[in-house]
Amino acid sequence: MSLAYVVRRLGVFVLVIVVAVSINFFIPRLRSTNPIEARMNEYAAQGGGNAAASMKALIVVYNQKFGFDKPLWEQYVNYWRDLARFDLGTSVAFFPGLVRDEILRAAPWTIGLLAVSTLMAFFIGSVLGALLAWPNTSRLFSIFVPVLMTLSAIPYYLLGLLLIYLLALVWPILPTAGAYTSGARLALTWPIVGDIVRHAILPAGSIILAGIGFWGLGMRAMMVTIMGEDYMILAQAKGLRSPTIFWRYSLRNALLPQITGLALSLASIMSGALLVEIVFAYPGIGYLLYRGISGNDYFVIQGVTLFIIVSVAFALLLLDFIYPLLDPRIQFRRS
C-alpha cells in the first residue's frame, strides 16, 4: 500500500464528508416550513399562546436566537464554523438541549443493541449459510433454507410484534418493551445489567432472526461459487480433513464479501433501527432522527446524519486499508 494511495484515499474521505454534510445542510432547508414556526404551531395546538402577539413575538425572538433570520450562505458558514469546534448546535425541539447531548444520550442504546444483534446475525447467518452449501451437511439441514428465506423476507418490526405476542403475551417470559424495568434507576450493577440484557432479547431477536436469513443466503451463494475453485479441489486431492477444508478454505474465502457488508452494517448502526425502537419503546437514536425530521429540527437532523456519514465513510476507509490484510490477493499499488 503506497503513501500516495493512503493520501488519495484520505482525500476522498474528506471530500465525501464535505459533500454529504453540505447536502445534509441544504435539504432540510428546502422545505417551506420554518422550524420555529413549526414549533410554535405545535405549542399553539396544545393550547398555548392565545394572545395574538404571542406567537409572532416568540417566532421573531427564536428565529434570531437560532440564526434563521440570516441569509442561507451565512447560516452555512456558521454551521461549518460551529462544526470545526465540534458544536452540533442547539436543538429546536429540545431547547436549550445541545444536539451533542441528545445524541450521546440515545447512541449507547442503539449502538449496544444493534452492534450485538448485527454481529450475532452475521456470525450465525454466515455459519448456517456456509453449512447449507457444504455438501457433507446432513440433508435435514436443508429445512433451514426455506426458514432462512422466509425470515429474510419478513421485516424485522413484524417479527418484533410476533415475538411480543408469543414471548410477552401468550407465554410471558420476557418483558414487552423498554430498555430496562420501568421504575428502576440506571446503575452499573448486576441486576440492572441483567435487566438490560433481558429487555434487549426481543428487539435483538427480531433483528437477528431477520438478519440471519440475509447473511445466510448471501453466504450460501458465495460458498456455492467457491466450491468449484481450484484450491478447493486441490485441498480435497491433498486429503485434508473435511472440517479443515470447511473452516480454512471455503468459509474463510467466502467471508470476504460478507465482511464488506458487515462493515457497512456496523457503520450504519448510528442511523438506528427506527421501527424496532418504536415497536419496543427503545430509547435510541433512530427515533431521535425521526423526531428531528418530523419536527423540522435542522440541528438534530444534521447532527445524527453527520454521525452516520462519518461512520459509513470511516468504515469504508478502514475497510480499504484492512482488505489487503484479509485477502493477500488484493494490493493497492501502482502497476
Binding site: G47, L58, P191, A281
Partner: protein, 605 residues
C-alpha cells in the same frame, strides 16, 4: 489439530449438537423464569408501591428532554402537561371538567373586581416548597412579572398583554392588576389548567437565572423545587422517577393525605400495539389512549384494563373538542353559504361516527362538548337546532342548494359553475385520518369533486394552508371552552381573520375567516360578562350567536372528540370514570393529581 465436537469428516454431528442446544435452552429458560425475574427485580421500590404512567399518546419511544424541568422555556408546556403538573407543581385552582366545579388548591379564593381590571387572590396558609421554604405571594409576583418581562418564555406575550403588575398585600394575599378588563383572566390562566398551565416558580431558586435556558434540574440539590407531593429522583430517556415527598405541605397542614404510591414513573408507551400489550401485561397503571377496538381486545384479555365508560361502544371521555369540518367562509367556493349548506346536507354524521370511530362517540351539531358546564346551555338552544336541522343528510336538499348557488352537474356528475368544476382538497391532519376517507366518499357521492389529502406525520404544512385562508375544506378538532359557550363561539369573531389571504391568522383553532359585524357585536358583549346558564342576558347572547352560527354554517360540527383513556386496576384502583367523575381522566391535565391522591392499592397480580 483437535477435531471439532460438532463435525465429523462427513457431516454435522447432531448427537453432539442436540444436547448442547438443549442445555443452552434450559439455562436460558432458568435464567428468565418468572421466579428468577422476580428475584432479580432491579427497582428499589416494589411494583405494588409504584404508579406507572405512560405518555398519553402512543408512538413515542423516549421522553423528550428528560432532564429539562423548565416549565417556561421553549417546549415547556409539554413538560408541564407531561410530568410536572401532577408531581412537582401545583396550581392555584384545579377544575372538574365534568361538573364545572372550581376546586381551590394553593389559593383559597379569588375575586374579580367589578371593573374586571384586577383580581384579588388569597393563598392557603402553610404552603411550603419541597426545600422547606414558604410559598408566598412574592413567588406569584415574581413568576407573573418574570413572564411579563421575558419575551422568550412560553405564555410571556399573553401575560404581557394582560398583566400590569402584581401587588402584594401580605404573604397570603395579592392583587393581579390587569392592563385592560378581562372577566375570565383568572379562570383562563389559573383555574382550568388543562391546555394552559402557569406553574408558580420559587423565587429563591429562579431569581438571577436566565429563565430561557435554566434547566431547573439538579438532583443533588433537590431541583426542581415545587410544592407538589413528589420530588424527582431520576431522569433518563426511558423514564422519569418521582418519589413521594413525605414532608408535603398539604399532608402537614391536613389539607390532603399523602398519596399512596411511593413512586411515580413516567415512561414512553412505544407503538400503539406495544402500548396495548404493555397495558394488558400490567406494565402501565395509567396508559395511553387506545382505538375502541383495541381497547375491547385489551379489556377482554385483562378485565382490569378499564376506560371512562363501563360499557361500549362509546368507551371514551370528552375533551372539550369537536371533530369538525372547517370551511373557508371568505375565499373560494365555500364563501357561498348555499354551498356550505349543501356540504352540510351531504354529510351523514352517524355513518361517519360508525365508520371512522366504530361508533365510539356521539354526533354533534354545535361546537359544545358534553361537559356538564356546557350541557346547561345546549338545552337552552335546542329550539334553534330543531329549527335549522343541521343534521339532515339529504341529497335532494344538497342539490337544491347547489342549483340555487348557480351550479349544475357536469358529465362526470360533479358540480360545476360556468364550465369550471368545483374541485378541492379535503385537508386532513394525521391524527384525524379516520375521518377523511369517509367524508370524501360522502361528499363525492353528492357531486363534490373532493380529494382526501393527508398530512402525516408533519402537520405544519396543513396548518400553513388552513391558518392562512388558503384551504377550502379541512378536517380539524375545534377545541374551545369546557364550561361556557363563549370560549368556542368567540373563534368566529372577525378579529381572528387573516389580514389577507395567504397571511396566517391569530389563533390556531379559529380558521373559518368568518366575518359578520352583528356576530362580532354579540361576542363583544359576551366578552364582558361572567358566564352563567341562569343569567338571562348571557343566555340570550348565546342564543343569538348560535342562531347566526347555524344560519350561516360558519363551520360544520361533526361529532364529539372522545378519547379511550385507559387505566389498569391491577395495582391501583379508584380511577375516575363516568360513575365517579371527580376529574377529567386525562393524565395531561393538572386535575389528574386528584386521582393520584385518591387511588388505593389493588389486589396486585
Amino acid at each position: 489439530m483437535a477435531r471439532s465436537p460438532f463435525m465429523t469428516p462427513r457431516r454435522v454431528n447432531w448427537r453432539a449438537l442436540g444436547p448442547s442446544l438443549g442445555a443452552s435452552v434450559m439455562l436460558l429458560a432458568a435464567a428468565f423464569s418468572p421466579a428468577a425475574l422476580a428475584a432479580g427485580a432491579p427497582a428499589d421500590v416494589a411494583r405494588k408501591d409504584t404508579l406507572i404512567i405512560s405518555e398519553f399518546g402512543p408512538g413515542n419511544t423516549e421522553l423528550q428532554d428528560p432532564q429539562n424541568m423548565n416549565p417556561y422555556s421553549l417546549g415547556g408546556l409539554g413538560r408541564v402537561r407531561g410530568i410536572l403538573n401532577k408531581t412537582i407543581y401545583e396550581f392555584l385552582y384545579l377544575y372538574n371538567h365534568n361538573t364545572g366545579e372550581q376546586i381551590p388548591w394553593l389559593a383559597q379564593s379569588y375575586t374579580v373586581a367589578p371593573d374586571a381590571q384586577s383580581v384579588d387572590v388569597t393563598l392557603r396558609p402553610g404552603i411550603e416548597w419541597s426545600d422547606g421554604q414558604p410559598f408566598t405571594s412574592d413567588d406569584v409576583k415574581f413568576t407573573l412579572e418574570l413572564l411579563r418581562d421575558s419575551p422568550t418564555l412560553v405564555f410571556a406575550a399573553d401575560i404581557k398583554e394582560w398583566v400590569k403588575d402584581v401587588q402584594v398585600t401580605d404573604a397570603q394575599n395579592f392583587r393581579i392588576n390587569l392592563n385592560k378588563p378581562n372577566v375570565r383572566f383568572f379562570y383562563f390562566y389559573f383555574v382550568e389548567n388543562s391546555e394552559i398551565h402557569l406553574p408558580i416558580l420559587p423565587r429563591h431558586i429562579w431569581q438571577g437565572q436566565d429563565p430561557a435556558t435554566f434547566t431547573n434540574f439538579d438532583l443533588a440539590t433537590g431541583s426542581p423545587v415545587g410544592t407538589g407531593p413528589y420530588v424527582l429522583v431520576d431522569a433518563s430517556g426511558q423514564g422519569q422517577l418521582f418519589d413521594r415527598n413525605d414532608k408535603w405541605w398539604a399532608a402537614k397542614t391536613g389539607f390532603q393525605a399523602l398519596p399512596k404510591p411511593l413512586r411515580v414513573v413516567f415512561v414512553s408507551p412505544g407503538a400503539a400495539d406495544t402500548a396495548a400489550a404493555r397495558t394488558i401485561n400490567n406494565e402501565f397503571d395509567a396508559a395511553a389512549i387506545m382505538q375502541p377496538g383495541v381497547f375491547e381486545t385489551a379489556h377482554a384479555r385483562n378485565p382490569n384494563v378499564v376506560s371512562w365508560n363501563t360499557s361500549g361502544p362509546s368507551w371514551g371521555a370528552p375533551d372539550a373538542c369537536l371533530y369538525t369540518l372547517g370551511l373557508n367562509t371568505k375565499w373560494g367556493p365555500m364563501a357561498d353559504v348555499r354551498v356550505r349548506r349543501a356540504v352540510q346536507h351531504s354529510i351523514n354524521r352517524q355513518k361517519l361516527v360508525d365508520l371512522a370511530y366504530e361508533g365510539a362517540t356521539v354526533s354533534q351539531v354545535i361546537p359544545f362538548s358534553t361537559y356538564g358546564g356546557l350541557v346547561a346551555y345546549q338545552t337552552q338552544v335546542q329550539g334553534l337546532i330543531d329549527q335549522y336541522k343541521p343534521d339532515d343528510p339529504d341529497s335532494t336538499k344538497a342539490a337544491s342548494d347547489m342549483q340555487e348557488a348557480g351550479y349544475t352537474k357536469d358529465s362526470a356528475g360533479f358540480w360545476s359553475k360556468n364550465g369550471t368544476r368545483l374541485t378541492t382538497d379535503l385537508l386532513t391532519p394525521g391524527w384525524l385520518k379516520p375521518i377523511g376517507p369517509v367524508l370524501e366518499k360522502q361528499l363525492r357521492d353528492n357531486g363534490f369533486d373532493v380529494t382526501f389529502k393527508l398530512f402525516d406525520p408533519d402537520t405544519n404544512p396543513y396548518f400553513d394552508i388552513v391558518r392562512a385562508g388558503k384551504g377550502d375544506l379541512w378536517v380539524i378538532v375545534h377545541c374551545g371552552s369546557s364550561n361556557e359557550p363563549y370560549g368556542t363561539l368567540q373563534h368566529f369573531h372577525s378579529k381572528y381573520n387573516s389580514p389577507a389571504q395567504g397571511q396566517q391568522n391569530n389563533y390556531v383553532w379559529a380558521n373559518s375567516q368568518y366575518s359578520n359585524p352583528e356576530y362580532d357585536g354579540i361576542i363583544n358583549q359576551m366578552d364582558g360578562i361572567l358566564p352563567s346558564p341562569t343569567d338571562a342576558t348571557y343566555v340570550d347572547l348565546t342564543s343569538k350567536a348560535v342562531n347566526i352560527f347555524l344560519r350561516d354554517v360558519a363551520e360544520i360540527t361533526l361529532a364529539e372528540e372522545r378519547h379511550v383513556v385507559t387505566f389498569n386496576n391491577t395495582y391501583w384502583t379508584g380511577w375516575m370514570n363516568v360513575s365517579n367523575p371527580y376529574a377529567a381522566p386525562y393524565s395531561l391535565w393538572a386535575p389528574f393529581i386528584l386521582s393520584m391522591l385518591k387511588i388505593e392499592p389493588g389486589a396486585g397480580q
